[in-house]
């Protein structure tokens, strides 16, 4: 059997997905037996020009991580889509936009003003911003254009599968790779994870009745050791988040923040969490409910921590 041809690429990302890919440790050797990596700018010295020269659909699988933030990310997404039979959005940035997607609450101009003028350590009396083309005494220099809006991979090109997580856990990565190696591919559009249910399903904390009179911030009290964090009033996101991670954060006494994206069948993770919340607030009095809700200072940034670009909201309207 011919070896699988795999391409890996990173667009706007932090590098954590690259480390996560390597975190399959000794299984890398197993992968090397059955697959050739034909493009991996981080690890191997194949070039962008080499990809352009490849025939269309000559790559079996592309694992694409990172969001689409500038013109170069977008160009590479289209190029790799054309060359690959299967396109996988690997990790939260490519899948949902992730934390850098919070930029969609603002725009490029506001981001530039903060970074290059307002910040207290910045000394920029002439109010210079970086430019896509700049004349210097010796010639011209170019920079790629930064977009106003962070986009997901699927908003840019056709995507076959999604691997959730910021970053995906080792076992999630291997689940996806195993499916590719054995050729037992799930239906198109599948989010590849060990679970289609919520994180709560694999969380060892004891769940009883969820009735909440007051929400607590993480710094306000020490959680009881074994009881469900949400029942204790911490805004644990496990109920609205796909499992597969092994519930690592709740086991370290911290709330789930939602990095594995929505559970199966849910389009908008934030809306799902909101509806879950409304059913557990222990009051029918509108005034009291308002008071309880006031303890959540940044609902949009908390409920859409990883999924703003992929949500129904997508971005803030800026006048």
């Amino acid at each position: 059997m011919a070896k699988l041809k795999i391409a890996l690429y990173w667009a706007a990302s932090c590098g954590g997905c690259e480390i996560a890919t390597l975190a399959i440790h000794e299984k890398i050797l197993k992968l090397a037996e059955v697959a050739d990596i034909v493009f991996w700018p981080v690890g191997l010295d194949f070039k962008y020009a080499d990809v352009e020269k490849m025939p269309d659909k000559s790559v079996d699988v592309c694992l694409f991580n990172g969001a689409i933030r500038n013109e170069e990310n977008e160009h590479m997404a289209h190029l790799l889509r054309a060359k690959s039979k299967v396109m996988i959005a690997y990790g939260s940035c490519a899948y949902e936009g992730c934390i850098p997607g919070l930029s969609n609450f603002y725009n490029r101009q506001m981001t530039f003003e903060r970074a290059y003028i307002e910040t207290p350590s910045t000394d920029n009396p002439k109010k210079i911003f970086p430019q896509t083309k700049v004349k210097v005494p010796e010639g011209e220099l170019e920079l790629p254009e930064l977009y106003d809006t962070v986009k997901t991979l699927a908003q840019t090109v056709d995507v076959d599968y999604f691997v959730p997580g910021c970053p995906p856990e080792e076992r999630t990565t291997w689940l996806a790779l195993e499916a590719l190696i054995t050729g037992k591919l799930p239906p198109k559009g599948t989010v590849i994870s060990h679970s289609i249910k919520a994180v709560c399903d694999e969380c060892p904390r004891k769940k009883e009745e969820k009735k909440i009179k007051k929400f607590y911030r993480a710094y306000e009290k020490i959680p009881e050791a074994e009881r469900c964090l949400l029942e204790q009033g911490f805004l644990c996101y496990g109920v609205a988040t796909r499992g597969g991670c092994g519930a690592l954060c709740p086991q370290a006494n911290m709330r789930c923040t939602g990095c594995y994206g929505p559970v199966e069948g849910v389009i908008d993770q934030g809306a799902h969490f909101l509806s879950a919340l409304s059913s557990i607030i222990d009051s029918n009095d509108p005034e009291e409910i308002q008071k309880i809700i006031d303890d959540i200072p940044d609902p949009a940034g908390t409920f859409y921590r990883y999924s703003l670009p992929d949500s129904l909201l997508r971005r803030a309207r800026i006048k």
Binding site: G15, G16, P41, P100, S121, A252
Partner: protein, 489 residues
């Protein structure tokens, strides 16, 4: 005018691009280092809840998330006016020491080592970690993998997750460790010390005993006399987690020493229109352009600068190595950029020794890991020493602890101007009229910036860690006259 672009185009999404302009005679007219990326954390952090900043800001970098997590957590202590418990501080430093062991190991063996072990002119197919393992032996290769894996286990155990930990809170950490975990950490620490000693021996055998390399380290091409920055403890010893920022001049004299809250009195940042990354400098001296020396505000924040800025190391074996390095290099401060690799290994040994000390601390398994803040949050600054430079997080919140303003001066950013200058100097010294531009020559230019381990090269922390370059030379009309590639099989 000819233009040479060294563009790691296989790493397209903005991690660094070098452009060299040549005069008609083939000498270098000017060199530019461009960073084509901005993700805007300083803006979109506005409106977020402060206690989530350790987890938000670590998404700046998936290679050194622990550094951002730690600087943010310390900024929260300050912001909420709460002192962490003694055990919490020790657990934070313990995790951070394990992180330093993994990070410095990765850099030496995967990123920097190939240049020395295989030689700067070795074929790119060999000049990578696999070549290094082939030469130094599989046993050492296995030790590299094992050391990284075990220290990552410590990060997951203490920090909650293997990548992007979740344990930092104002006033403490979220999880205590038990005796079984402590004992395992102690064993890993012992192994890490042996590994660090072995690595220093490799450096001795391969680099220091080779006169060509030693001459290269001491050569003017790789010398830069700038200010040195680093975090020090109360005895002026190197510390990664806590202390004051000390700056010493190229002459070795202390220029200033400041607490996190005072950073704005000392640091300012310059904007240039041709790069997305700013250029920090010492505010009291001012920006004098891309020049070194006592009258220029340019400073470096690297392993070598940290050792230069301190009076020594706080652990015994690292202190011995510290003394040996300066006696070999002819005293303090050492302004030899390539000696940064040596300094990094001394830090590796220190991190492993510190890890062992902390694992044996009687308080380390105490359940007393959190103090709950009671004061109203307002403003906080946190500084740690990231592997790639002093890292500053500064937040201002409303009374509910919602971020109103956020300012970040990130590790590599400190070294932006020095990096630029090191590349420029190497290019000017190596590219001369009539000199053929070879792959090895380009690699030597790269060797000028590799010691900084810039985060733009986070990427090359992965196997096999060879930065791909493509150099295209254009004539005055912009026609391509020559194309050279490095690292393309």
């Amino acid at each position: 005018m000819k233009k040479i672009t060294i563009d790691p185009i296989t790493r397209l999404e903005g991690h660094g691009k070098i452009t060299i302009f040549l005069n008609e005679d083939g000498s270098v007219a000017n060199t530019y280092l461009q960073i084509p990326e901005l993700r805007g954390f300083e803006k979109f952090s506005e409106g977020r809840i402060a206690e989530d900043m350790p987890q938000i800001t670590q998404r700046i970098c998936g290679v050194c998330p622990e550094a951002h997590h730690m600087a943010a957590t310390k900024a929260l202590d300050d912001l909420f006016h709460v002192e962490p418990t003694s055990t919490a501080k020790k657990l934070r430093e313990l995790l951070y020491s394990a992180f330093y062991v993994t990070d410095h190991t990765t850099h030496f063996y995967i990123l920097a080592g190939p240049d020395f072990v295989m030689g700067p002119d070795a074929s790119p197919a060999e000049r990578n970690i696999l070549g290094v393992i082939g030469k130094v032996g599989l046993e050492l290769g296995g030790a590299v993998i094992n050391t990284r894996k075990q220290n990552h286990w410590i990060i997951q155990t203490v920090g909650g997750r293997p990548i992007h930990p979740c344990f930092g809170l104002p006033g403490g950490v979220s999880r205590a460790i038990n005796e079984e975990e402590r004992a395992k950490i102690e064993e890993i620490a012992k192994g890490s010390i042996e590994f660090a000693k072995l690595t220093l021996k490799v450096f001795d055998d391969v680099v220091l005993k080779n006169k060509t390399y030693l001459d290269m380290i001491l050569s003017d091409t790789f010398t830069q006399k700038s200010y040195n920055m680093g975090l020090v403890d109360k005895n002026n010893k190197v510390n990664f987690y806590d202390g004051k920022v000390r700056v010493v001049g190229p002459d070795g004299k202390e220029f200033c020493k400041y607490a996190p809250r005072e950073y704005l009195e000392h640091i300012a940042e310059r904007v240039e229109p041709w790069t997305y990354l700013k250029f920090p400098y010492l505010k009291k001296i001012g920006w004098k352009g891309f020049v070194d020396g006592k009258d220029s505000g340019v400073y470096r924040a690297t392993p070598l600068s940290r050792l230069n800025a301190a009076d020594g190391m706080a652990t015994p074996l690292a202190q011995q190595e510290y003394e040996r390095m300066y006696s070999t290099l002819g005293g303090k401060p050492a302004n030899y950029t390539l000696a940064t690799h040596w300094a990094r290994l001394i830090e590796l040994l220190y991190a492993a020794e510190r890890l062992l000390e902390l694992s044996r601390d009687p308080e380390i398994t105490s359940p007393d890991i959190r103090n709950i803040p009671t004061a109203t949050p307002d403003e906080g600054v946190g500084i740690v020493e990231a592997p790639r430079g002093t890292l500053t997080h500064h937040y201002i919140t409303d009374e509910k602890g919602v971020i109103k303003k956020c300012n970040l001066i990130v590790g590599t950013t400190n070294n932006h101007a020095p990096l630029f200058m090191s590349i420029k100097k190497a290019a000017e010294d190596l590219i001369k009229p009539g000199v053929k531009i070879t792959e090895g020559l380009l690699n030597r230019i790269e060797m000028a910036w590799r010691p900084y381990d810039p985060c733009m090269s986070c990427a090359t922390h992965a196997l096999p860690g060879q930065l791909p370059l493509e150099v295209t030379i254009y004539d005055a009309q912009g026609n391509e006259v020559k194309k050279l590639s490095q690292g393309i099989s």
